[in-house]
Symmetry: C2
Subunit: 205 residues, 2 copies
DNA sequence: GTCTATAATCAGATAGAC
DNA sequence: GTCTATCTGATTATAGAC
């Protein structure tokens, strides 16, 4: 009799992946809402609907949970970059990507981490999936930055690395949440203002 | 005999003020180094060189400590604004002020708070000295912003409040620390790059 | 007001049965 | 792998003597 390709194991591993996706989704939301320090593992467990001890069967530590969420964010970013129309100019690709990250943040789906916490930084640095994703995304954005600078679209006086950091920083820009909290503007208006400030500057052109 | 103006009380209160200044200075440094959550009251006490219980005779809570540091920052800002040459144009005053905040941050003297933590936000909102200082600084910057917009120096399409938030955000811009961590640039170069990005934008002019 | 000692709480992580 | 129950350590805050 012909044997099938281990259906039981496949099914079990699918359930496992589904659960881990659910965990990551909850972590993502909590990180966006309250940040890493204020997020507790109890809240994650409650959000997923499982016991805390079960969480620790999937992820070794709180830092590991956050790292998994960040790795997932990198996958989302890669998917977004893949879907960008190749016909777009380099600067338009950059602009559209920044807009995507800001919308993610305004929608409460951008996990934000403290740029200081060392235990977390250490966990991120050794997380292969996250680091690989980050490197890939940075490489692709970096290539567009250099292309845009050569085309005279971006100011070539600013080092590419500084441009890259500046674009990344839009993902955790407090200006977004302050403007949103002011309740004076729609999300679209906020994005338009911050994009304009970022690319055109505060000075009159 | 002529009585003097209560010299003993004056001396005691001077000692008190000196101690509180020492506490605030330590809090300032720790907030800049590690942020609010990672800073512990034990570290503050050790930094000042007094017992933790003594700290609580001066400040009611950890939030209160941070609020006092922020209030002190506002006083520093007011002093800086007072010292600005009146001959400077509005945009140059803004530029110089932003440069001052960035240098404070690069030197490790800019207390940075999480923009989310609610217990801390609540403590800040009811701290009269901090709120008064913040309002005064905001009013003065706001007036310069509107002046610069009328003079055609700043882009009038961007609401003044958005400009104000954008300038404030330079005080906690992660781009500064990332560029510093890269060890590729001097502090002066970093400030020049970020100032250029902020006022002139990433696009070629 | 300063100290030592301690209370009270909370959160990350684990033991061990099923 | 999931659960309940618990451990462990860290941290904010206070009691009470001097």
């Amino acid at each position: 009799m012909v044997t099938h390709a281990t259906p039981k194991v496949s099914f079990r591993s699918q359930m496992l992946l589904a659960r881990e996706r659910a965990i990551i989704q909850t972590v993502n939301r909590l990180l966006a809402e309250k940040g890493f320090e204020a997020m507790t593992v109890d809240q994650v467990a409650e959000g997923v609907g499982i016991a805390k001890a079960s969480l620790y069967k999937h992820f070794a530590s709180k830092e590991d949970l956050a790292a998994a969420a960040m790795a997932d964010l990198m996958v989302q970013a890669q998917t977004f970059l893949d879907g960008l129309a190749p016909a777009l100019s380099a600067i338009d690709k950059l602009r559209t990507t920044v807009e995507w990250t800001m919308r993610l943040k305004l929608d409460g789906n951008m996990p934000t981490l403290p740029s200081q916490n060392s235990s977390l930084r250490a966990a991120l640095m050794v997380h292969k999936a996250y680091m690989d994703g980050l490197m890939d995304v940075s490489d692709r954005l970096g290539a567009w930055i250099e292309e845009a600078q050569q085309q005279g679209a971006l100011n070539p006086q600013i080092p590419a690395i500084a441009v890259l950091y500046t674009l990344y920083a839009r993902a955790c820009d407090p200006v977004l949440e302050f403007l949103k909290a002011s309740d004076l503007f729609s999300d679209d208006q906020i994005i338009e203002m911050v994009l304009m400030t970022c690319f055109d500057g505060l000075r009159q052109r």
